[in-house]
Assembly symmetry: C7
């Protein structure tokens, strides 16, 4: 069995909707456009959510990798 690498999972999620949660507790959902080895990430058509509700529409959002805890394809 071939071992997969963590960034493979993010590569599969490119151009798909993904949930990102930050260390400060904030949640963003958007289309995954780009990421790098630091997990710096860009979402398009992004929205911030609070308790499952859309708080604001944000268009393109660049997220600094070290602010992120988890990412989960939707």
């Amino acid at each position: 069995m071939e071992n997969s690498r963590p960034l493979d999972a993010l590569n599969k999620a490119r151009n798909k909707r993904i949930l990102i949660e930050l260390k400060n507790g904030r949640q963003f959902v958007g289309t995954l456009v780009a990421f790098d080895i630091h997990i710096n990430t860009v979402l398009d058509d992004a929205e911030e959510r609070v308790d499952g509700e859309v708080k604001r529409q944000m268009g393109t959002v660049f997220i600094r990798g070290d602010a992120i805890t988890i990412m989960s394809p939707q």
Copy 2:
């Protein structure tokens, strides 16, 4: 006696259920799919738990390594 390395323990847990706890106190349980030297980790069939109860089903979850405190095969 041959000295083992910490990542050996994670390698043995591949494709098995594992508990991951984060610095912000959150708990995830899922099937360990991938990890790297930064401990960036991917779980499949993941769920978030609060006080032992399932809070949400999450499918695939990428966890940034520096957010993690402990991991324990279930």
Copy 3:
């Protein structure tokens, strides 16, 4: 399909208005003048905002990259 990199999104935002949010919860909006791989960033004609209101006009602002959580072109 060619994979884009996160800093491409910031390059496209050069000389345009951008919102930057910090780990301590503060918000700045200004014209993106410069950034580097650490995400150290310089804004011109910057203002700090609180709850959507301008709190202070700041002219040029240098922001240390590791203080930043997100950036979003306006």
Copy 4:
């Protein structure tokens, strides 16, 4: 007198019971199986303790090095 290095003390504790305390205040006791230069550590037969009482039995636990404050052989 020959100067010893900090990891020598951990090497002497291999296969022995050791107490590990984390930055978030949690305590684990287990058999030291492995560690690396980042102080990523693996315990076997681990238990979490609160105020000296066993809170949960955990089997194998991988602890990310940067979450650790102190380790003390028991």
Copy 5:
């Protein structure tokens, strides 16, 4: 159009008054004497301010770069 780098903005502010804000919320204003790539910075004729009022006169102040959030020429 030639892309500028973030430290160019700090170079232009050498020998001028600059405001520096720290992660712990403190504010210093002084003459920018020196900085390096870590953003370690030295101010002369520095004062600490609280709510716009001078709290203490400090002469020369060395500020460790990783304590800084923003810098803004006055």
Copy 6:
């Protein structure tokens, strides 16, 4: 005058009692056995102190360098 280096002060304290204070406010006193460039440190005959009182006797203690704020020979 020859410039000394910070680790020289720790070298002089080898095999002597030293006080170590951590970022989380805890205090340990013990015999300095070993340290490295990360300031990972090992104490023997260590005790944890609270408000100057011995809270617990700990034998050997390994302290991860990045948890430390200050060290002071006793």
Copy 7:
């Protein structure tokens, strides 16, 4: 005009009294004996101060660089 570097200011303060403030809000004043590029620092004849009052006399104090926010020659 020749550009100075931040550590030049610390070099000038060698063997003089200097105030050091830490991220956890504590203040130390002592004679600057040594520092390195991480800003690991050693003070002699050091004292901890709280609200301008001497809280304790400490002799030699090694301060881990990443615990420091500012240093100011007295």
